[in-house]
């Protein structure tokens, strides 16, 4: 092996320029993969970290009594991996009253949360706006404080039931309960997390005070029937629970899958250490499970977009290896003639590949890390370990790539006998895949899968009701993968016959003019042109596909963000505040706001299903946000909104509801609506005004839209709790102005840009921007390199021919025209191929991911800027490389070359 290494090193040093070219090409190829690895690794850690941070309450363990909750919380808190463990309790609130200088006011039913005094400092379920949780006091939820018109120091009386004895406590603070759906959800560890409507009023009491003053009058509900808590207000007793937050650092160190495994292991260990004492409802695992699915989808998407580019880039390495193939072939033939066996030659090839691979792999790692650092916001975050593992993968890939290119280039020598290889005899006959027509088979299967996907609406992505998740099947990427493979193999099979046929048709039977000679030469070199076309065309197709898909993805992410948020800018306020302060008008008057409208978000029961219900002002809604016709079924957006406007008790329901309850437009629909005044649900008649499948700010599953005035008249919820605003300028800037203008009313202002960057269970989960920037940069560089290599290879292959032309007295311009012609043919055909294949691939990817795109795009977005840069880079490189090659022609050592036989 040492001898082989020495021989290989000598051979490489003998042609330093060609060796450098091979190293650079290999390095560029593996840099793309290395950059992708680094990015995907970072991305997965980000997804895991975001999922961990997004869960306000990791575990909730119901227990039976106050002493038990104290004991278990303390024991859990000592377990490794647990960051916080608090005893807590929830209980029904029958009502509250406050008598102040302005008279008496009361609040309806709600819930009591009992926590230790230091709870708000360490847990993310509530945020203290004023004051603190103190023994003997009560902290009121912001809305309840507003309803009771109570301030810190005032005394309020709380009743746990309609007829129970009131307990008077001083107000020690005002808080915003940020995770009421978790805090007051029914806890059944066997069923896992269950959605529940948050209570309208929340009073927070110090745990000891609660145990002493309020709990004694209530039964414990820890072992209650899990369905008992599904309806708000149905909780009848005290729910003691241990609330736990895990240490986020180890959970965020890897992928969502590894975080899920770690979280599950920790939960099992903690439960085992307290046998029979506690079992947890695992909100964290629920979130991580969704994120793991998202991450799997993201990884597949990254791979689907990046791997073809990297593989084609390795084709460049083959082109680069071809540059030295004649010299290599002669050297190897000589070695075989001197007795070297095939295994000796393979050892030599392996040694050379190892040298090239190690150098190129290390360079590729540096380039990949550099690209991520430079192009991705947040940088590469490459620790020594990650850099080393990336380098190991890159070196291994580069060695494999170099070996594949080398063996491919010298295959003839390895296959043939000594005599044949010295004479340069090449293999004839078609390979097995051509005889089996695997290329056409792959294209047919690809088309079939696409047809099934597009025509039948089949999709591997499913959105189960109430818990939107993505599940992945290999099937979904079969169509584009087979299109790549089939198109590449078909190009190999054609060997440029199409180019040859077209040029021969243009020239006629015999070339008699200089132009005819150029074309006939190109037609007879169709195989070589095809080789360039495969690499250049497929690289450009990779770029086109990437650009179009990324642009469409970004476009839909923005649409999705608007759909998720509701409008360009939203301002959320406590119920009653928006109506009292006329927030819609105040927001509308902010500079940059085009229009604003108030929306009430509440809940109502359709049979046993609790659904989000939106009250809108049909007259102003469409000015403040955008509605697409595709959001509705059976009518346009204008028609549905018009019908709603003309039907005061009209309601637009989702298609699932229409189907489940056999409804038609105009039918009576009785809903149970929560009356915030009484805290109880009561039946209210509505009439179906339309069918909806998407709506701004609505969830992906069932929901309803009604007239704000009618809804308010039956829910007494205090009017809109969110203001939608459309803007003319930059959403974050306008959002900042809106926040300033409404700060006094305790609003929370959001904007579409902020929403786009947020992780959610939708297409916006995956930030494609980073990787598409890396890949687009590589696509431009590799396409340029491919054209340069093709031109350089043209000179290398035709040097004897060009020297003969020069010996005949042909001017350099005339000889150079042969290079220009071939470069133009490859570039032109490559652009055509890239346009067709790139567009088809993008169309396929979008069709396959139609259920991920929410809503599906009306048309593909074409990134003209990027495509211009891509084609421009290829054209510019072609011009520069051909000019450089032309200068090389001038320096051809004619005497020396013409002696070569």
């Amino acid at each position: 092996m040492r001898v082989a290494l020495g021989l290989a090193a000598t051979g490489l040093l003998r042609a330093p320029l060609r060796t450098l070219t091979r190293v650079l090409v290999l390095a560029a190829s593996v840099a793309l993969l290395g950059g992708m690895l680094v990015f995907v690794g970072n991305s997965l850690r980000t997804v895991a970290g975001t999922a961990v941070r997004s869960v306000p309450l990791d575990w909730q363990g119901p227990v039976t009594s106050y002493p038990q909750v104290l004991k278990v919380a303390a024991a859990v808190g000592r377990q490794p991996g647990v960051a916080q463990s608090y005893p807590a309790a929830t209980a029904p609130l029958g009502g509250a009253a406050h008598t102040g200088p302005n008279g008496s006011s009361s609040a309806g039913a709600g819930a009591i949360l009992a926590v230790p005094s230091d709870y708000p400092s360490h847990m993310r379920t509530l945020r203290l706006l004023q004051g603190s949780v103190q023994p003997g006091g009560v902290v009121l939820d912001q809305q309840m404080a507003a309803t009771l018109q109570a301030q810190i120091g005032d005394r309020v009386s709380l009743r746990t039931g309609a007829h129970s004895r009131p307990v008077s406590l001083p107000v020690s603070g005002v808080a915003l309960v940020t995770a009421p759906d978790k805090l007051f959800a029914p806890l059944n560890p066997l069923l896992g997390p269950a959605p529940a409507q948050p209570p309208a009023n929340v009073a927070i009491v110090e745990l000891g005070t609660f145990a002493r003053l309020l709990a004694p009058g209530l039964p414990s509900t820890a072992q209650a029937n899990p369905t008992s808590g599904q309806q708000p207000g149905a909780q009848t007793g005290v729910g003691w629970q241990v609330q736990v937050q895990l240490d986020p650092v180890p959970l965020s160190a890897g992928s969502p899958s590894s975080a899920l495994t770690l979280a599950t292991e920790t939960k099992n260990r903690v439960e085992r250490s307290l046998p029979g004492q506690v079992q947890f409802v695992d909100n964290l695992s629920d979130s991580l499970h969704t994120s793991a699915g998202d991450a799997l989808y993201a990884q597949t998407l990254y791979i689907m977009l990046a791997v073809p580019g990297a593989l084609i880039a390795l084709g460049l390495a083959y082109l680069a290896a071809l540059g030295t193939v004649e010299r290599d072939r002669r050297d190897l033939a000589l070695l075989r003639a001197r007795g070297a066996s095939r295994s000796d030659l393979l050892t030599l090839a392996a040694a050379e590949s190892a040298i090239l691979g190690i150098i190129a792999g290390l360079m590729g790692t540096a380039a990949g890390l550099g690209a991520v650092e430079l192009l991705v916001s947040g940088g590469a975050h490459a620790s020594t370990g990650r850099a080393l593992s990336t380098a190991a993968v890159c070196v291994a890939l580069a060695i494999l790539g170099a070996a594949a290119a080398r063996v491919g280039a010298i295959a003839a020598v390895l296959r043939t006998t000594v005599t044949e290889s010295r004479g340069g005899v090449r293999r004839t006959g078609r390979p097995l895949w051509q005889r089996l027509y695997l290329d056409l088979f792959a294209l047919a299967i690809s088309g079939l899968v696409y047809w099934l996907t597009a025509r039948t609406g089949f999709s591997a992505v499913v959105n189960p009701d109430s818990n939107p998740t993505l599940s992945l099947s290999v099937y979904m990427f079969l169509a584009p993968a087979l299109l790549w493979i089939g198109a590449t193999l078909l190009l190999v099979r054609l060997r440029g016959r199409l180019v040859g046929w077209i040029t021969r048709r243009a020239v006629g039977p015999r070339a008699r003019t200089p132009r005819g000679l150029l074309l006939i030469s190109a037609s007879r070199r169709a195989g070589a042109i095809n080789r360039g076309l495969i690499v250049v065309g497929l690289l450009l197709a990779f770029g086109v596909n990437l650009g179009i898909f990324s642009a469409t993805y970004d476009q839909q992410a923005t649409v999705d963000a608007q759909l998720t948020l509701g409008a360009d800018v939203t301002a959320t306020a406590a119920p009653g505040v928006a109506a009292r302060q006329d927030l819609a008008r105040r927001v509308a008057s902010v500079t940059g706001v085009r229009a604003a409208t108030g929306v009430e978000h509440s809940y109502a029961y359709v049979g046993p299903d609790l659904q989000d219900t939106y009250g809108i002002d049909a007259a102003t809604f469409t000015r403040a946000t955008s509605l697409r016709d595709s959001y509705f079924i059976g009518a346009t957006a204008d028609q549905v909104i018009g019908r709603l406007r003309s039907t005061p008790d009209g309601i637009v329901v989702s298609k699932e509801t229409i189907k489940d309850f056999s409804l038609n437009v105009g039918d009576l629909l009785r809903l149970r609506v929560l009356d915030q005044g009484t805290g109880h649900f009561h039946v209210v008649p509505f009439h179906v005004a339309g069918v909806v499948q998407e709506f701004p700010s609505a969830p992906k599953d069932s929901f309803m839209v009604a007239n704000l005035a009618y809804l308010e008249s039956v829910s007494h919820a205090g009017g809109p709790n969110v203001i939608f605003a459309s803007v003319n300028g930059d959403p974050p800037t306008v959002a900042a102005r809106v926040a300033t203008a409404t700060r006094a009313y305790g609003t929370k202002v959001d904007d579409i840009s902020h929403q786009s960057s947020r992780t959610s269970s939708s297409i916006t989960t995956v930030d494609l921007k980073g990787i598409s920037q890396i890949e687009e940069a590589f696509a431009v560089v590799l396409a340029a390199a491919a054209m340069a290599l093709f031109t350089a290879l043209g000179i290398a292959e035709r040097r004897h021919e060009f020297a003969t032309m020069a010996a005949l007295g042909a001017p350099l311009r005339q000889i150079g025209a042969y290079l220009w012609t071939e470069a133009a043919v490859v570039l032109g055909a490559g652009i055509l191929l890239a346009g067709a294949l790139g567009l088809a691939l993008s169309e396929m990817l979008v069709a396959i991911l139609q259920h991920v795109f929410d809503p599906p795009p009306d048309a593909l977005a074409i990134p003209w800027g990027f495509l211009g840069a891509l084609i421009g880079a290829a054209v510019l490189t072609t011009v520069l490389a051909t000019l450089w090659a032309g200068r090389g022609l001038r320096r051809l050592a004619l005497g020396e070359i013409l002696r070569e036989q």
């Binding site: 070339a511 008699r512 030469s521 021919e801 020069a806 005949l808 007295g809 005497g895 013409l898």
Partner: protein, 236 residues
């Protein structure tokens, strides 16, 4: 001898030509102190062993190699001091080569090889007759091989196409480098006969580089080379 006299009586002339080139760290002298003139229509054989400098001298005469020292005059004009473009222009219309391996343009048919040479040479000078590529190929006996690619031709046929291609350049000087080197003896003789006949018919000067005594003997003048120097110039 006056310059005018030189210009009229000599087609090409080498004056103290020296060619050296690098091989690694070493400098190899391929030609040294070459003084040679070729008259119009003259048939000269450059004879010597392999490595004696025959091919290099042939390349110097055609302007393919620029001498390291001395000069080459073409029809009284300095050829070796011209740039590559001007040397190419000089070659295109009057100096033709027939190489040992034919060196046909591999992606062109026999006819297209001639079309290419004609396109490079341009129209014939006044007094020279224009020949179509078909005529020239018929002249060398390959009227039925117009559309054959070089790979489809035998060695003798390829060499005849190379000769026809040379004729397409309306040469005043034909430089043949071991024209029978790759051919069997019978085919080689036929090719040499053809070249001689065409030289007679078209009146161009013919310089043939060969190591074969019999081939050299066909020339009216034999110049013997050894180690890059002319050791004998056997003028008739």
């Amino acid at each position: 001898m006056t310059a005018v006299a030189t210009a009229t009586s000599t087609l090409t002339r080498c004056e103290n030509v020296e060619v050296t080139h690098r091989q690694g760290e070493d400098r190899i002298t391929a030609l040294r102190g070459i003084d040679l003139d070729i008259a119009p229509g003259e048939h000269v054989a450059l004879w010597g062993r392999s490595g004696s400098g025959k091919t290099t001298l042939l390349h110097v005469l055609g302007g393919l190699v620029v001498p390291s020292a001395g000069r080459v005059l073409w029809r009284g004009e300095p050829l070796s001091s011209l740039d590559a473009v001007a040397r190419g222009r000089a070659r295109a219309g009057s100096i033709a080569y027939v190489f040992q391996g034919a060196n046909l343009l591999e992606h062109f048919s026999a006819l297209e090889n001639l079309v290419f040479a004609l396109s490079v040479a341009g129209p014939p000078a006044q007094g020279q007759s224009a020949h179509s590529p078909e005529d020239l190929l018929a002249l060398v006996g390959l009227g039925d091989k117009l559309d054959s690619l070089p790979a489809e031709l035998s060695g003798g046929e390829a060499q005849r196409v190379a000769i026809a291609r040379a004729l397409a350049q309306h040469p005043q000087l034909l430089l043949c480098d071991e024209p029978t080197g790759h051919l069997d003896s019978a085919t080689g003789v036929r090719v040499l006969d053809l070249i001689d006949a065409l030289a007679q018919e078209f009146g161009f000067a013919l310089v043939t580089a060969t190591h074969d005594v019999d081939v050299a003997a066909r020339a009216e003048r034999i110049v013997e080379l050894r180690d890059g120097q002319i050791v004998k110039d056997d003028r008739p």
